[in-house]
């Protein structure tokens, strides 16, 4: 009965993920400015989420091992770490691909990149530690301690990571509540910073219902300056032209205009901003998260069972593991 349920569950997970993969291409609308590359987000975010879940699960089972000293708990902790490593790698690689296609860089020590990089290092250290201890009981115990100890330091990393780089390429407006995407109100002639980009509002020109702003933009580390002309429709209260920053997929949007004060609200529009406002995208996204989490737990149980069988066989053979 249990076996049949397990087989059914396995089948369901497979079908579910196949559905997610299809939906990724057929259901999710192509987001403006991202092209097909945007679809990778449906993979990227859930794998990163599972990486965090796996790390937590591994720490929980490590604690249980120290508490009860049953080899099974250590099998689960190791299995969680192994699948976690896999998912962390997947999240890193999908993220790098996306980053290269959309923003033109593979890596920029963005806070979340730093965190996941350190997570990779911790997993690597855990495997190195396990490989360096021959005696099984000692190996289990010490790796459980390391895994828990590493878990204790993780919150500090999450806290400190944003201090490394001021800017993030991750589209916080799309996924994180309360992130700063308020934009910048400038009077004509004034200079301000949007992220780490210097912008200067040169002029506002009204042409019928549409106001076009002339904005001088300079990138940090770039000597070249460019003038971009975003525009705004006064009647429909919506942005019309959203030019891209030079060399990037970021767009400059003119979100509001106050002609009397001669000022305008400028903002960076990261590709992917507002992505989840689309219902179909949101549901595919949630389905992907559920699917990948289920996949992780299935992998966890299979791998842990396998480790248990391996250990039993080694014990029966009387050989060394």
């Amino acid at each position: 009965m249990v076996q049949r349920l397990a087989r059914l569950g396995k089948l369901l997970i497979g079908l579910w993920l196949a559905g997610v993969a299809i939906a990724m291409f057929l259901v999710v609308p192509q987001y403006e400015g991202l092209g097909n590359a945007g679809r990778i987000v449906i993979m990227h975010v859930p794998t990163a989420w599972v990486a965090v879940v796996a790390f937590t699960v591994s720490a929980i089972f490590s604690a249980r091992y120290l508490w009860r000293r049953r080899p099974q708990d250590d099998d689960y902790a190791l299995a969680a770490a192994e699948s976690g490593f896999l998912f962390t790698t997947l999240a890193t690689v999908t993220g790098m691909i996306f980053s290269q296609v959309v923003w033109g860089v593979y890596w920029n020590w963005d806070p979340r990149q730093t965190s996941i990089f350190v997570l990779l290092l911790i997993y690597a250290a855990l495997f190195a530690l396990r490989a360096a201890i021959d005696e099984p009981q000692r190996r289990r115990q010490l790796s459980a301690v390391y895994s828990l100890f590493a878990f204790v330091t993780m919150p500090f990393l999450v806290f400190v990571a944003p201090r490394i780089a001021d800017s993030t390429l991750h589209p916080n407006c799309a996924f994180i509540q309360g992130s700063q995407c308020d934009g910048l109100t400038l009077e004509v002639g004034k200079i301000g910073l949007l992220g780490d980009r210097k912008v200067q509002l040169l002029a506002l020109e009204r042409n019928g219902d549409v106001v076009t702003a002339q904005v001088k933009v300079s990138e940090p580390g770039l000597t070249a300056e460019r003038v971009l002309s975003p525009s705004f429709d006064l009647v429909h209260e919506e942005m019309v032209a959203r030019p891209e920053f030079p060399g990037l997929r970021y767009q400059l949007g003119l979100e509001a205009v106050d002609l009397e004060a001669n000022s305008a609200l400028l903002n960076i529009e990261a590709p992917g901003t507002g992505l989840l406002e689309n219902r179909r995208t949101l549901f595919t996204f949630l389905a992907a998260i559920i699917g990948f989490t289920a996949l992780f737990f299935w992998m966890l149980s299979v791998r842990a069972t396998l480790l248990g069988v391996q250990w039993a066989l080694a014990q029966r053979a009387g050989g060394r593991l």
Partner: protein, 240 residues
């Protein structure tokens, strides 16, 4: 009476019939040889890596008994003693020390044990006296110089206490192991290859130690030396 707990002092020899009971540090009652220490081994198995060296060893010892453990090389004599010392966990089964009938937590039991073994190494950079002083301090025993000198004399190292261990011969190192093990008057003495590299007078020290210990405490000796086999009241043969 404010001095009540002092009865539980390892060296205060309580008059027969007087038992001090229920003190938070009740394990120290066992130092007081009026209270009997018992050792119960139930179905113990040990592994070395994934290899099982012995399984299902059960026995019971009480104060005044000497157990000799023998067996071929690799049969697990030393492992058995390490299990008894709590340096290693048994793969299966239980090892329980009882003190006046009460089972002790394995962690507290470590304080009842004196262990002498070829594996036991002391600090080479320190002198014999500094070694003993250090171990007395971590055990929170307040030993004065006279007490340490007496201990050194007892194991035949009188006058050599201020030399560093690095300059000791292997026989002298073995003698110092006895001093380390006897430092806290343990009611349980575990001796792995007790006569290793000892000369005639060293062997006499061992015999004297065992004879003193058997008056009240437990001794477990792991050996294959025919001379040492006769120390025992009981014999455990491993690997048969």
């Amino acid at each position: 009476m404010s001095g009540q707990p002092a009865l539980c002092n390892p060296t205060s020899r309580t008059p027969p019939g007087r038992v001090c009971e229920h003190h938070p540090g009740f394990q120290f009652l066992c130092y007081n040889r009026q209270v009997e220490t018992r050792l119960t081994v139930e179905g113990v198995a040990a592994t070395y890596g994934a290899r099982r060296v012995f399984a299902d060893v059960s026995l019971e010892l009480s104060g005044g008994e000497v157990l000799v453990v023998s067996g071929a090389n690799g049969s697990g004599k030393s492992t058995f003693l390490r299990l008894l010392a709590g340096l290693q966990r048994p793969e299966a089964g239980q090892i329980v020390y009882r003190c006046g009938g009460q089972a002790l937590d394995p962690r507290d039991a470590a304080r009842l044990i004196g262990w002498v073994a070829p594996d036991l190494m002391l600090y080479r950079e320190l002198t014999g006296r500094e070694n003993l002083r250090f171990f007395a301090e971590v055990r929170r025993l307040h030993l004065d110089d006279g007490a340490i000198e007496a201990l050194l004399e007892r194991v035949g190292l009188a006058g050599r206490g201020d030399e560093r261990l690095a300059t000791y011969s292997s026989g002298m190192a073995q003698r110092l192991r006895y001093a380390y093990a006897l430092l806290h008057h343990p009611p349980v003495l575990l001796l792995d290859e007790p006569g290793l590299t000892l000369d005639e007078r060293g062997t006499a020290v061992v015999e004297r130690v065992i004879a003193e210990q058997r008056r009240s405490g437990i001794v477990v000796v792991a050996t294959n030396d025919p001379r040492e086999l006769r120390y025992g009241d009981l014999l455990l043969r491993l690997g048969t």
